[in-house]
Each structure stands twice: as C-alpha cells, then as structure tokens.
Subunit: 454 residues, 2 copies
C-alpha cells in the first residue's frame, strides 16, 4: 500500500466547476469558507489549528449519478474531496485540511422508503425531517445529536457516535444501529459499493475518509409519546444516582437522561423559571405514559419536578437542545472561555469514579452527564465543561481521568484515531486503500493512512 | 391485629347461591373441582398437598357491582373467597385450601380504553385478547407468560412475575409495569379502593389474598413486527453466552431469548425439523427489522439458524409456547416424572455460576434459561428441568444453588412468602388487615397473616 498525496495546487477551479456541467457549485469565497467549517471552535485547540482551513470549491450534487461525476473529476485531477452534511460536528470532521472540493450532500435528502422499524434515506436528509415522515407511521430515528433539527443522517453516521435515544439503543457503532450503506469510491473508475451487516463498520464513523455515502438503511425505534420533564436536586450526586436508577428502571421508557451540576443550569437562559439557584438539574425525555411511575421515582430520590410538558407540547424536542453538546453551546454563549471533555465512565451502579472526579476537580471541570447504554449497561458519559487555561493543563486533566479508568474521547483533535477510537481500525484502513487509492478523501484525518504513507 | 378464621362449614350452598340472585353460579361438583385447580401438578410436592382441595361454589360475576354483592355475601356468611382467572398458575395460587367460593373473573373481560402506551382493562381479559385490540394501534402488553393465549391479565398480575417481554421491560414488580388497580374489599361493608403509583404494590402479586382486582391500568410496549427464530449451537455454554450477548445488544430489539440444553429440545415434538440431535437450542422473538444484525451475531458465535418466521407468519407467538413454563409442560408430556426449578442467577456477563451449576448437576438438572432484565442488567433465569427423586433431594438441589448465590423462587410451595418473595411484605400484610379483617381471602396462602394470627 503506497498511498499518494494530492497535488491539486495548480487546479483551475473555474475550469473544474465547468467540467461538472449542471451540478451546483459555489465559488464565492465567503460561502466556501463558511461551508468549510463546523463547530470545531468549541475546542480552543482545534480553533487555533483549523481557523485558516478552507476548501476551494463547494459542489452540491442532487443524485448519486452526480456524485459519481464529481468523484471522477476529483480522481482525474487528483483533487481532495471532503464530504459535508450540515456541518454540525465538533471535531473539524468536515473541515478540509488540504483544500479542494467540499462535497455538500444536503441536496440529496430523500426518504426513499419506510418499513416497520427500518428506513432507507439519502445522506442529506435532516434527522428531524426523517422523523416527520416516519412518526405518523409509529417510528422514529433511534438516536440523534442535540443538533437534531439541522444535522443530516449522513453527517451523523460519518461523524457522530450517539445522542438523545442512546439511553435506549446504545451508540451508532453498536451492531444493529446501521443496516446498510451505499458508497461511491474514488478509484480510477469510481463506482458504487453496497455494504450490509457488519460490513458497514468499514465506513461507519470514518469521517468520510473512505467513501462517499449516498444512501443509508437505518433502523427505527418505536415513536413513544415523548414528554419532557425537568427535575432538580439539592446535590449533584443524588441527581446522578437518580439518573442511573432511572436508566436502569426497566419499566420506565426513557429517551434522554441529562444531568447538570450547578452552575451549568444557570447557562440555560430559556429554562430559568424551572432551574432554581444552586440546584443540580436533570433534563428528561420519557414516554408520557410513564410520567406516573417517574413521579414515584423522583419522590424516592427527594427530587422536585419543576417543569413537565406532555407529548402534545413537546414537538421538536426543545429540551434536547439543552443537552449533549448543546449544553456546551449554551455555556460558551455565556462564557466563551469554556470548553469540554467527552468521558465514558466505567459501568458502576455506585458511580464511585464519577464521585471522585466530581470532588477532585470542583469548579474547574463542571459535571454534565448524559446516560447511555453500553453493552446493555447504563453508564454516564461526561460532557464536562472545562475552564480552559492551557493546553498542558487540559492534557493533564485528560490524563488524570484516563489513569483512573475513565475513557476520554478527546474532542480536541480532528484525527479519527486520536478522538474516540484510540486505535487504527484495520477494516476501515483496508477499505480506504481499496476505494481511495490516491488518498483524496478528507486527507489528514485518518492516522492509520498517514502512518502507512510515511 | 387479630384475624379471625372462617367458619363456613355449616353453609347451605344452595341458599348462598340463591342469595346471589342473577349472578352466574356453578354447583356441579365436577365443574367446581375443575375450576378449583391450576397447573400445580408440575410440582410433585404440590400435587400431593393440593390434590384434594376444592371449592364449594363457583361464582362468575360480570360487573364490579356483582363482585361487591358476592363480597357482601361472603363477609356476611364468613365464607372464604378465592379469586381465579384462567387457572394457568403453577403454584396453586388459585386453589382454595379451605373450600368456599371460587370467584371466577373470566366474564369481566372488557378492554375499557387504550391510550398510547397505556390501557385500562378488566381482570378477566385474556392477554392475547388485549393485544388483539391494542396492536392495530401500535401497542401491546409488555410481557406475558407462555400461557398468553388463555391467561387473564388479573391472574397474571396476582400470580405471575414476568415472561416473554421481560428481556425488554423487566418484571411485573418493577416500577412502571403496573399503573393502577381497583380492588373490592371484604370488609363488613365491602367497597372499592383505587390504588395508583407505588401503592399498587400492596396488591401486586399477592395471590388475591388482599383484595379482588376489578380493574387494572397497565402500561403497553411498542408492537414491533416480531419474527421468530431458532438458533442451534454445538454446546450449551456457547448458546448461553450468545443469549447473554444478544440481550445486551442495545441495537437489536429482542422480546424472547430462551436457551435449552440438550435433551430439552427433544421434547418439542412440533419443532423437530429445526432441532438437530445433541444441539442446544435458542428460541428467539426479535423485531423482524433486526434479523440482519441478528444474523451477524449468530455468525460471530458459530450458531446455525434452523428456522425463521417473519412477522406476518408469527401471529399468536407460536414459538413462545415452547418457552418459560411451557417448556416444563412439553417435557412432562414426554416424561411426567420431571419437575422444575425457578432460579435467578446473579448478574455476571461471564455466566460463571451458571456454568458451574450446569457441570455440577449434569443430566439431573437440565438447563433451561430465560433471559430477562433485572435492574437494567441482562441475567438468565433458570427454569431447569429436574429429574425428581425425593423431596429431600429436591431441597438439597435448591440449597446447593442458594448457598452459591443463585436465588431460587421455589415453585414447590403455594405460600406466597415461601416462593419468590422470601420475606413477609409488610405493605401487603397491612393492606390485608385493612381490607380482609376476617381473613377470608385465599386463606392459607400468606404466611405473614397466618403467623400474625397464631
């Protein structure tokens, strides 16, 4: 395997755009710069590293045939190609490190079919738009990031890992949470490959480094009548234990269990009437049919329900927009010096390591937990808010967690393996060698490829 | 609290029946004897103990008003009253130890309303009949015993604990799996009490010793398009590990994971073409939409799919009728000397204690597992088939399990506390003291009551 690097510096982009015929292209530098970015600036490290990165040309195909045409042009001209959905990622997944074509797939947004428990969609379909079609049939996407209203399914699969719904269905990487993919290759003669079953893992969460996803078959979950609830507690650990117990309550159907230590609730301007000072807050989405047993559990833990919206009033999952990485967004709106971590605590119903970390870091690392299912167990993921001082201190905080058995998916790198994966994925690397022999796809993101090319 | 025992020996039953006016009664001794029994004979111990027990009069009310009228008559005459659904229990729950009235509630079988995720039903509604009404709306009862087609919801709540569906929703005792109950009391002036929230636990799984359930509000689960699958494995422990992993696979929607060591599959006459000799069999109900990822998991564990029925062909859950205690039924049809245990293994993804028991007892205790969720964790429950020799040896087997940390819900007793509960439930006992001051309800079944009366 001897990957070649791209040599696109001498490209005449106007000529290249012309070559693409009727396919929509954008050359306006302001538009191109905007469509070269995502929410990387949540990380001061990535902000510094990626601020000046931009593509040369945005291309917005409407069909798989057009994608094939773009692929052919990129291969012929040895032009890098970085795929993009709505650009709601947080690690620069969609930021082109070596310029070239930004392939914006938002115009390929059809929901092709819906069956009980399954849907076939194009990559640019927004998550909320898929639900609008499937919900009347009793189904919905199983999990979504807090950017649910704008994020695309292709971007979520290529760059996400889980979200609202993961407390029921685990993460995108779990077998059964992605059924099939069609991808366009960047070979000398680009073609379409269909991946099914475990074979989808070759492209799942690969940041678009090894194939352009043009169609996805995704499983759906049952669309319960979701209600939104805010519960507050005097202290954070009680709130956390309540979250752990609720997630483990097999008779109560939860979709979101999001725990916020004070002062994080103070950042949620729109929710202030339901968030008393000094209290930890738990933001919940549960089946409306389970509100009564939920109330009993709240009572058992001494919590207070400060807000409750029935399913009819909860359309659009408004409360979800204060959870997962929207929490970070709201906090940074108040204090832009804040950044965050992504931590997976080991399974422990007693939450001992969590408690230790909570007390150890105090106000420097503010606790924000999202409960999710990992191999059948309920565990808290921390999206802690960090008062950033220096990169060295940030590294020190990360190491302190890792040394004690907490897993950190570092959100301060745009390199695939340095984030959540930690190791080279041989299957993904081999697939890239096959479908992207010239190393044109999202160059600089896959460590395994770069090290192989040295 | 000084409970009084009944003194009904001098009752003139024809006069008593006349007193009940238009309410349906049955005096025919053969009918009364039949309606005094359940499936207690699965246990040789209970068979000996209960064979001669019978009621004096069967009463079959159609309304709560009629139930109140029967209650009044029983209290006035100090007559014992034993409530009965379809009589599909296995511990003599519905067998009258002191004669008296058998209150057959099968004629009170209305489904009063269905909302998303909730239904209100009368106690005599058969589980399958409830589903026939709720399924077209996308909902179904969350769990059911293998007697699903005949069992009533009232009987299941009063005498059952879980079943097909428990791998998703846990057990009936778990908060959220029973929302509300209406019960008629046997006080001097019988009345109706409504119990909601945690208060339902006062009557939940109390064998009808402390109130006549006349209405239930039960939660519903999403009606996935259920498919049925049989997977076979060379060895039992691989089959068990497959079951554990499938239950813990958050991306695959399972409703039933039932594992049978050879020679148990040989007892399933109707399934023989799918059950090769010497192989362990796993009987599954999973969402049809999950068959593809299930296939990958089967491959990983080296299993063989020997039968697969899509949702359209799986109506009525035929495969379920070889699982839970139907397994015992089929085995006893072949070898009536067989009996069984009910074992809950501690949570352990490595299944070490299970493996130890499997090897220790060999052919004397044949392994039959049903996976279920307990406080959020997937654990195997054993309904092992036991080659019965003596009561002493049966006790020895039970003790061997208990000494090593396996919990045994003894199916060889009709006493509430001596079965699965192990301790006197103060809440249930206090409720009985309130609503059944004369100790007329299903006398002889609640140890706490009997000990209180000594």
């Amino acid at each position: 395997m001897t990957p070649q690097t791209s040599t696109h510096t001498a490209i005449n982009w106007d000529a290249f755009a012309t070559e693409l015929g009727d396919i929509e292209t954008i050359r306006d530098p302001i538009q191109v710069a905007k469509l070269s970015k995502d929410y990387y600036y949540f990380s001061p490290i990535l902000k510094t590293a990626l601020d000046d990165k931009t593509g040369d040309l945005v291309v917005r195909p409407k069909t798989e045939a057009e994608v094939l045409q773009v692929a052919r042009a990129c291969v012929a001209n040895r032009v890098p190609l970085t795929v993009r959905g709505a650009g709601t990622g947080n690690y620069g997944q969609a930021i082109p490190l070596e310029g070239g074509v930004i392939l914006d797939l938002t115009a390929m947004n059809a929901v092709k079919w819906v069956k009980p428990g399954l849907a076939c969609v194009e990559p640019g379909a927004r998550l909320a738009a898929i639900d609008r079609i499937t919900r009347p049939q009793g189904w919905e996407i199983r999990m979504a990031p807090s950017t649910y209203r704008t994020a695309t399914i292709g971007g979520f699969i290529a760059g996400g890992s889980g979200g609202i719904g993961s407390v029921r269905y685990g993460q995108l990487r779990d077998r059964g949470n992605l059924h099939a993919l069609r991808v366009v290759t960047l070979e000398d003669e680009p073609r379409v490959i269909e991946l099914r079953g475990d074979a989808v893992q070759q492209v799942n969460h690969a940041y678009g480094t090894n194939g352009i996803i043009t169609e996805l078959e995704i499983p759906l979950g049952a669309a319960y009548p979701w209600a939104e609830v805010i519960v507050t507690f005097e202290d954070f650990m009680t709130a956390s234990r309540f979250g752990q117990r609720l997630g483990s309550s097999d008779g109560i159907i939860s979709k979101l269990i999001s725990v916020h230590a004070w002062p994080i609730p103070s950042y949620f301007a729109a929710l202030q009437t339901a968030l008393p000072a000094e209290q930890s807050a738990v933001l919940l989405i549960v089946s409306e049919s389970c509100l009564e047993p939920l109330g009993e559990l709240v009572k058992e833990f001494g919590g207070t329900i400060t807000a409750e919206k029935g399913a009819a009033d909860s359309k659009g999952s408004a409360l979800g927009e204060f959870t997962w990485n929207h929490t970070t967004l709201h906090a940074r709106n108040v204090d832009p010096s804040l950044t965050y971590l992504q931590t997976l605590f080991p399974y422990d119903p007693e939450l001992k390591l969590l408690e230790e970390m909570y007390h150890h870091f105090g106000n420097e690392v503010m606790m924000h937990l999202e409960f999710l299912r990992v191999q059948g167990n309920i565990v808290p993921a921390g999206l802690q808010l960090v008062r950033f001082s220096t990169p060295e201190r940030l590294d020190e905080i990360i190491r302190y967690h890792e040394d004690r058995g907490a897993f950190i998916a570092n959100p301060h790198t745009c390199i695939l393996e340095d984030g959540g994966r930690k190791r080279v994925d041989r299957g993904q690397l081999a697939f890239k060698a096959k479908v992207d022999p010239y190393g044109l796809m999202n160059p600089g993101k896959m460590r395994g490829w770069m090290e192989g090319s040295e």
